[in-house]
Symmetry: C2
Subunit: 200 residues, 2 copies
């Protein structure tokens, strides 16, 4: 009960209920849970290139020599990577910052994986997957959340990348598909006007 | 009661309640309502240039010689114009289509104000506001809703505008400011990747 009660969102009463549930249940399912928890700490690691979660040295994306290795999409968290990957529209590599700059919460540039990001751009020879070739990164896509902190982080990254020969772009901001114009707020409509895209 | 009951969303019982409310209330407020209803039909008209609602021949935007008259933003309805105008970010002119193509509902190109739109582009001399100069339109911005019917209408307009010497753009589609990436759906993320914007 003490141990279960240390999990977030689980109080004394919930911990009690969970403990009795485990006590009453069969042994194999309790063992499966115990082993899964052990596994989280033992087998789930950060990819040595992009920092997403995986169960080996390299995640399947970084290990795949078929990806467009000249493109790097920077996201805040592993779940952002998953969301973008599910679109099936991006074939390049990712880099997970493991957070965003949040000065008020004490999250500075050193808490993020910016050093590794710059290393990936500056020394592509150190990030060649088994069976792959050394490909220099030519495009960095900022995929941070369109929030105040995300924008601040993007600004900081822009400064860090200045002087390096990479094209910098960011995910498009504007009207989300399926919305009605009349219900969009001023900020969204302003972005949509400012970022208007040329039609062929 | 009969007349009130013809309004949309007002049934027999509501019409009865409204009629008795008017009967019990004072005369001046009933007269104000009667006059407001008369005014809607007598004074509210469509602007002769852009078709938005106004109380004269020209709406304040079309009548203003200070607007960037070389730009034309095409919207579906007057309320879209109001939403975009409230951002304060657009200084050009508008054109209200008064609907969108909806073949299933029998709304074809002839039901919209496309003829007048083409006339505005082809004969700018006929659309000079009092005290203004004749300015040719050089940019058309498609501001239709990011929906299936809006996209269909934009496609049709693109065809109609082909061969005319105007730049065609559309409002940016992508992530709405303030959202989190992880909650955006595939279509929105796909647009955001595809339409990614170059950062200086």
């Amino acid at each position: 009960m003490d141990e279960l009660g240390r999990l977030p969102g689980i109080g004394r009463r919930s911990a009690e209920r969970l403990a009795f549930h485990l006590l009453k249940g069969d042994e194999p399912s309790a063992m499966r849970l115990a082993r899964a928890i052990e596994d989280i700490k033992k087998t789930v690691r950060h990819c040595q290139h992009c920092f997403t979660l995986c169960d080996g040295d390299l995640c399947p994306i970084c290990a795949d020599p078929g990806r467009e290795r000249q493109r790097l999409l920077i996201v805040e968290q592993p779940k952002d990577l998953i969301a973008l990957e599910q679109t099936g529209m991006y074939k390049g590599l990712y880099h997970v910052l493991m957070g965003r700059l949040a000065p008020l919460d004490g999250v500075g540039p050193d808490s993020l994986t910016i050093d590794r990001l710059l290393e990936r751009i500056d020394s592509p020879d150190r990030f060649v997957p088994p069976g792959g070739e050394c490909v220099a990164i030519s495009e960095v896509i900022l995929g941070l959340n369109p929030t105040l902190e995300g924008d601040g982080t993007a600004l900081h990254l822009g400064e860090e990348l200045k002087g390096r020969s990479v094209t910098i772009s960011r995910l498009a901001r504007g009207l989300p598909t399926g919305w009605q114009l009349e219900y969009a707020n001023k900020a969204v409509l302003g972005d949509a006007i400012e970022g208007r895209q040329r039609v062929e």
